[in-house]
């Protein structure tokens, strides 16, 4: 479904070129939920922008369902970390969710239906006429998720979406994402710096190295499909996987120096 091949991104800041991403190759099968973790500053956001078609890579390709991505593709939705800036303060919750559908030229009836369904899916039906800034942070991020869901994407990209919400809200939102993913069968690429979150959410975890970034490890999460904040996190297997990802990230950090000198 989503195929990233030999992706490289070099930022040309005049004399000093920075190689943010060196050589990334991975693939997401249709309907997969994959988490991408890596040490901070490893180019996760750069990678996501390249995949989303918001930024051209220096070399390498991104393919969505066989088509090369050069501009934001119509089958992809992005949920950003900064919900407060990603939602439009001048529009009601309903208008925020509906705007991309208008641009898709969907008929009014269909738009109304999709907005109602997606707001219900995130539990915000009662707040359709509120403005985003009247809601709590967690609710705002749910509006952003509803907007992505209503867009009916084949691939959902999430860029550290829960980094700015409190721990309890975060647990709720994690379950919401699992729930939406299972019901809609959408392919999800979830970027995070939180190891627990990556293991809890993902069917697979890709561990990135330090910048210049390559895929360091690809771990299949063989936990049961039905996950629960209490039992899953106490599961022995969860702890093992968590330890493995943690060890990989430590290794990525420590190997940063020789890799950079290379």
């Amino acid at each position: 479904m989503l195929k990233v091949t030999a992706l490289q991104k070099i930022y040309n800041g005049g004399a000093s070129a920075v190689e943010a991403v060196r050589d990334l190759t991975f693939e997401l099968a249709e309907g997969e939920l994959v988490c991408l973790v890596g040490p901070s500053g490893c180019g996760k956001t750069t990678l996501l922008k390249c995949i989303a078609g918001l930024m051209p890579p220096t070399s390498g390709t991104v393919e969505l369902a066989g088509d090369s991505v050069t501009a934001p593709p119509p089958d992809m939705a992005v949920v950003f970390q900064e919900y407060g800036r990603s939602l439009f303060a001048w529009m009601s919750v309903r208008a925020n969710v509906e705007l991309p559908l208008k641009e898709k030229k969907l008929p009014k009836e269909r738009r109304r239906e999709l907005v109602a369904q997606s707001l219900e899916a995130v539990g915000l039906t009662a707040f359709a006429d509120s403005y985003p800034w009247q809601l709590s942070g967690g609710m705002q991020q749910r509006v952003a998720i509803a907007r992505a869901v209503a867009y009916e994407p084949k691939v959902l990209l999430m860029d550290e979406p829960f980094a700015a919400v409190d721990a309890q809200t975060r647990a709720d939102l994690e379950d919401l994402i699992r729930n939406i993913w299972q019901r809609l069968g959408v392919t999800v690429l979830f970027v995070t710096h939180d190891i627990d979150e990556a293991v809890y959410l993902g069917e697979r975890v890709l561990v990135l190295s330090s910048s210049p970034t390559v895929v360091q490890d690809d771990i299949t999460v063989d936990l049961p499909a039905e996950r629960d904040q209490l039992t899953t996190r106490q599961d022995e297997r969860f702890t093992e996987l968590r330890a493995r990802v943690y060890a990989q990230i430590q290794q990525a950090k420590n190997s940063a120096a020789p890799a950079a000198a290379h």
Partner: protein, 280 residues
Amino acid sequence: MTKTDTTDAGPPPGAPAPRGRTRSGLGRALLGAAGIAAFLTLWEAVPRLGLVSDRYLPPATEVLGVLAQRATTPGFWAAVGDTLHGWALGLAIAFAAAVVLGFTLGALPRVRAFTTSTVDFLRPIPSVALIPLAVLLYGTDIRSTLLLVVYACFWLIYIQVLYGVADVDPVAEQTARSYGLGRLARIRYVVWPTTLPYLMTGLRLAAAVALILSITAQLIIGTPGIGQEIAIAQSSNAVAYVYALIVATGILGVLINMGVRVLERRVLRWHTSVRGEATA
């Protein structure tokens, strides 16, 4: 989970605004009224006590009396109408031109850089320096007023629009692009709302300046309006009427400012500067 945690909400959509604001608002209005009363009393007292000759400063009651009496004559209202006409038309032209040019150049950074030095040169030129030119071109026609008003207001709004266009949040911009919003849609749904607070500031400043220049043009060039009336009253030594007209322009200025503020509150009800306590 969906049902239960909707209760962690902030205020529900139609929640009443906190009371404190209306009460202190009332207190402030009372203080304001008391201030005006004190000012009028002082104005009444100074000429009556002989501190200033009432040939130069007639007492407040006399001036307000003349104003009330003139306000029943059609000539007075024609002058007010002419002034407002020049004000509104000039402001509208400046607004439209500044918005169109500001958005165009805001989207073309190279052209903008190319014009910046010229703009910085033209902007500080006081509009009144154009009076001889206006007279030469249009005489005492309303177009003379418009030239001065448009020139001064255009820069005020134009600069604000440029700031606003440059202030678009990159995350909002990326969101719009990732959801397939084209260039025009992004201008309409992202750039325009981002620019609105700046635009309203420019409009508020320009609305006041437009009135000043409208009166100036009438006073000095003699285009029709309150300014021209003041010049005529002065030359016929009707001192109380001169003051009455000055008071009238003051009232006009206050009304215009109030109008723009109401507009600002309506248009920017979503903006941090207006939504204020409602979200706290």
